[in-house]
């Protein structure tokens, strides 16, 4: 065996080792299109919510007055139902695209990396959910949107150790957005739409461009 051939073989072996390490410790099937679809759901949700809120805010952009309106109970129920529907639609559509990517690459969708990813998202996100319920209970409405953004951002930063590392930057942006929102609380819905809608779509497109475009082009031939 000549020497350059041997070096090639060593390089190949090292690549295999790296691939095995990545594949076994990170959930790599997360699709960029999942981000795009979740972002679209969030934008549609925010648009419907702004329509629901309009009669209470008298056309003004600020939501503050709506919170104290006499008919608030009915509005509150509508908003909660809407939030639940948006969450369900976002989860379902993003899971579909991730499932599709995993199947295309011949990877299992439910393995120990998926489990680790889910647990590590669930801890900060579950805490955030309970925290937001607490805010709701204490009628701290203006703090709900920033809290959603901050806890979601923390969950993504935590998750970045168990999936594609790029998600870390999305998390940091969500946290920054949430922190700014704290001081402009009456713009909550807009911050929410920016963080969960626009950022998701941009992030998803970048991820798709970076990791999946090649495969999509190859498929089309």
């Amino acid at each position: 065996m000549d020497s350059s051939n041997q070096a090639d073989q060593s390089l190949e072996t090292l690549r295999d080792i790296r691939r095995m390490m990545e594949r076994s410790s990170r959930f790599i099937s997360l699709s960029g299109l999942s981000g795009v679809s979740a972002g679209c759901c969030a934008l549609v949700g925010a648009w419907i919510a702004s329509g629901l809120l309009r009669p209470y805010t008298g056309g003004a952009l600020a939501l503050e007055s709506g919170y104290r309106s006499g008919n608030a109970n009915e509005l509150r129920l509508q908003i909660i139902l809407l939030a639940g529907a948006v969450l369900l639609a976002a989860l379902t559509s993003s899971m579909y695209f991730t499932w599709r990517k995993a199947r295309k690459n011949g990877l299992p969708i439910w393995d120990h990396t998926a489990k680790k990813l889910l647990i590590n998202i669930a801890i900060p996100l579950g805490t955030g959910g309970l925290f937001v319920l607490g805010l709701y209970y204490h009628t701290e409405w203006p703090m709900i949107a920033p809290s959603c953004l901050i806890f979601y951002g923390l969950a993504l930063v935590n998750a970045s150790k168990y999936t594609l590392t790029d998600i870390r930057y999305l998390g940091i942006l969500e946290i920054i957005l949430g922190c700014i929102n704290m001081y402009y609380a009456e713009w909550g819905l807009y911050f929410w739409a920016l963080g969960f809608g626009v950022l998701h779509i941009i992030y998803g497109l970048i991820m798709w461009w970076k990791y999946e475009r090649g495969a999509a082009i190859k498929e089309r031939g």
Binding site: T13, I17, S24, D111
Partner: protein
């Protein structure tokens, strides 16, 4: 000149054993079934390689139960970690040496 492949560890010649070690280096503990799926192997094939690694003292076996089903998990030993890292360094050395 030193023998260029002298530092390579014979145990890791097999792609399967090398794969097992790569996975165990980044996962604290992993089950037999997860290993099987990741490496796309049959039970018997994987088991024989795991026994070889265990006999060399490179991996530890933990036998547990989930309900009534046995759940065997594996982790890397300190000796295994050192041996595998030496092997990777030897591979790197070979690439550098040839360039």
């Amino acid at each position: 000149m030193k023998n260029p492949i002298g530092n390579l560890n014979k145990v890791f010649d097999s792609r399967i054993r090398m794969g097992v070690m790569s996975i165990l280096l980044v996962n604290e503990e992993i089950s037999f079934n997860d290993l099987k799926k990741l490496l796309e192997l049959t039970d018997g094939n994987l088991a024989s390689h795991l026994i070889n690694l265990e006999e060399n003292g490179y991996i530890k076996v933990h036998k547990g139960f989930i309900g009534r089903k046995t759940n065997t998990t594996y982790s890397i030993t300190r000796a295994g970690e050192k041996a595998f890292k030496d092997h990777i360094e030897a591979l790197e050395g070979m690439i550098r040496g040839m360039k």
